[in-house]
Symmetry: none
DNA sequence: CTTTTATATGACATAATTGTTACACGCTAT
DNA sequence: ATAGCGTGTAACAATTATGTCATATAAAAG
């Protein structure tokens, strides 16, 4: 899971937080915890988690109050929220949804259910935009069908090579260091050797074949560049 | 009711969306929701719903603006739209109809009325051949008779496999993640494991047999794609 | 023409993803 | 109830992808 999501758990009862955290971590998420709305708010503004699990009933500021506040702030408005509530508080569901909550789980719930709904919400929260195909020489990459063709002949690439090529084709004529490529293509927070980039470059070139491997150019002492100009 | 229709509900007020969604789901429709015109537009282009319920008044882009935009785009022009509007906005009715809206309901309305008019619109609109048979290679799916044939030999599919195939055949050459497939084929509000998709893919492939199983292609690291192009 | 440094390449072990089968549960109709 | 079907999950197998070496080549530097 290279792009593991940050989940903030807000609940005043420590055992519950623990339980949730364990479940989520087993599912590959990274968790932070807060035991009240105040510190939660601070943490959210500061760390911008990908998702918030928010208990309904808490001392001082209630969960819903926090939700409202987050929705008003532009920098936090888009973060999906799942409300946790005790059985029998169903009437509050409408209020919750009014406050912009994305989903709603009543305690007690199974870890499995929690993870499932969390996934569903995350899925929905990221509407995938429509991307246009890019082409150079006779090489075309279509993000929609997720296909690459060299003069109409299909080329098959591993996921990483695909992302690498996609990045290159949308950032042509510019040299990137291995470090930059790791950031952009692999995603910032993975630790892999820079040499790994070389290997994937090699794999990409191989897949492109004689016809198009010239597009991937090495910039000695710096990194690599994708360009149609034979430098 | 295995040929359930996808309805997108666009309204900025969550409780209203909820209410509508519940009503429609009880009537056998599958619902997605959007709370603003922007994301609605993205979802429409992406998922091509069978029907759109569109609130008149919304922040940023108004419903009518979205309607106009959809009508201009060839890929979305045929999707029927029902406008929701508050009482006393009757004057806008003309504008709405000018913009290509198919019907018009004033709030408040009963769920029963909504469903009735939705059915009526769907019946007479029958958007660009959603009810027409589709065929690829020698594989044909006829939504009306609810039949699938491979070179005129009948294939029998379970309900889910049928919907999956139908979705694929009407959305060819696009890679879909398991999550997206769950949203589109299973319906937005179910919480099932993503791996379940794999199993149904398998069942579908098996049913298609050697003759046509190549149409269902796996896009490693992403999901699946239905295409006649071998790759 | 060496030496030094940087990149290319092929091979591997391991990790991640997908395919496949089996099974249990809930429905429906008998 | 019972039998049959459709579904979702779990478990295991098969396949593919990834990162890291070790080594070969190639380009600059001396």
């Amino acid at each position: 899971m290279s792009t593991s999501k940050q989940v903030l758990i807000v609940d005043d009862e420590a055992p519950i937080r623990e339980m949730i955290a364990v479940a989520l971590e087993m599912a590959g998420y990274q968790c932070s915890e807060a035991d009240n709305a105040q510190t939660a708010h601070a943490m959210i503004v500061d760390r911008q988690p990908d998702m918030i699990l928010l208990d309904w009933m808490m001392p001082n500021m209630s969960g819903i109050e926090l939700a409202r506040r987050l929705r008003k702030d532009e920098t936090t408005a888009a973060i999906p929220i799942i409300m946790l509530t005790a059985k029998g508080e169903e009437e509050n569901k409408v209020k919750g949804l009014e406050a912009g909550v994305d989903d709603y789980i009543t305690k007690p719930f199974s870890p499995r259910e929690l993870v499932a709904r969390l996934k569903a919400v995350l899925r929905r929260a990221t509407p995938k935009g429509v991307e246009d195909p890019v082409a150079v020489d006779g090489l075309m990459l279509d993000p929609v069908s997720h296909r690459v063709t060299s003069n109409d002949k299909p080329i098959d690439l591993g996921p990483t090579e695909f992302r690498l090529l996609q990045f290159f084709m949308t950032h042509q004529d510019r040299a990137y260091s291995r470090g930059q490529l790791l950031d952009m293509v692999w995603g910032g927070n993975v630790y892999v050797e820079e040499r790994t980039v070389d290997v994937h470059i090699r794999r990409l070139r191989k897949a492109l074949g004689k016809q198009h491997d010239y597009l991937v150019q090495t910039v000695r002492g710096t990194g690599y560049r994708f360009s149609a100009q034979i430098a």
